[in-house]
């Protein structure tokens, strides 16, 4: 029968500790990757939530107004006016910020069409377009506008 001396017990303990640390680091690698994927998915979900919110704002605004950039700016004054479009800048946490430190940009393009109020809503992530949607509602003409008499 083998007799375990205190010295051999210590060696066994450290061997077990080393093996545990090795397997722990391997499993930690896998778990960190899972955490990282979860974080990426959460970030993507947050992006879609904010885009959806901004799109619905545009839609609701169109249904209850004449659909001009000036009217939109009255409701959401932080926008940067650029000819016939409005630009809103957001940082990584979706807080409004200046163009220099922006990670996202929402752009609302207002049409000059007198028959249809339209907003082309676009979302940019680091200057790359990743969502775009055209929103339209009709404007009905009066008899005078349609035929002049």
């Amino acid at each position: 029968m083998r007799i375990f001396t205190p010295r051999s017990r210590t060696t066994l303990f450290f061997t077990e500790l080393l093996l545990s640390l090795l397997f722990f680091s391997l499993s930690a690698c896998v778990c960190i990757q899972i955490f990282s994927t979860a974080e990426t998915k959460r970030k993507e979900a947050r992006e879609w939530n904010h885009i959806q919110e901004a799109e619905v704002i545009a839609g609701e605004f169109l249904s209850g107004s004449f659909g001009t950039a000036v009217e939109f700016l009255e409701l959401y004054p932080s926008g940067e006016k650029n000819e016939n479009s409005l630009l809103y800048y957001y940082d990584l946490n979706w807080k409004e910020t200046d163009p220099a430190s922006a990670s996202y940009c929402m752009r609302y393009d207002f049409s000059q069409n007198i028959r249809c109020k339209t907003i082309v809503f676009s979302c940019y992530r680091k200057e790359t377009l990743f969502y775009q949607q055209k929103i339209s509602f009709p404007i009905f003409r009066t008899r005078k506008e349609a035929i002049g008499t």
Partner: protein, 158 residues
Amino acid sequence: MRKKISFVTLGIPSLFFIFSVLCMVIFSLLSFRTSQSDLAMSTQTMEQTTQYYQACQKAADLCLKIEDFSIDIYQNTEDKNAYYQQMAFLSDTVLFWNETAKQYSFEIPYSDTQALSVILNIFYPLTEEDSFLEIDTWKTIFTRNWTPDTNLHLFQGE
């Protein structure tokens, strides 16, 4: 003689290892599952919103088509009765003309269960400021009935 307790005890590192890995795996899988369902929910909401506004765009085009038609008829008819009689000619499988209410209605399906329902009042403009159309209804409707399962499957015995 009392036995000396040493920290160098076999099995303790393995126990710590098993416990910590178990915790890590559980928490990582839980957070992964939560974020996955969050993303699925956001994507679904986003798709639905996009489909709704695409349906709105189609509806806007149809409204303008009806307006063009009514203006054309207005210019080519002499009185109100003839105007409303002619208005019925635009009806097809999508556009429905309601003779009594003088309304055009149509539905644009945008998902398996939902559609955009639009009802337009058609007018015969008498003054210069009157318009030919007016939106009466612009709303989302459910196209499929949902019947919840209210049965309780009780044990009936052998």
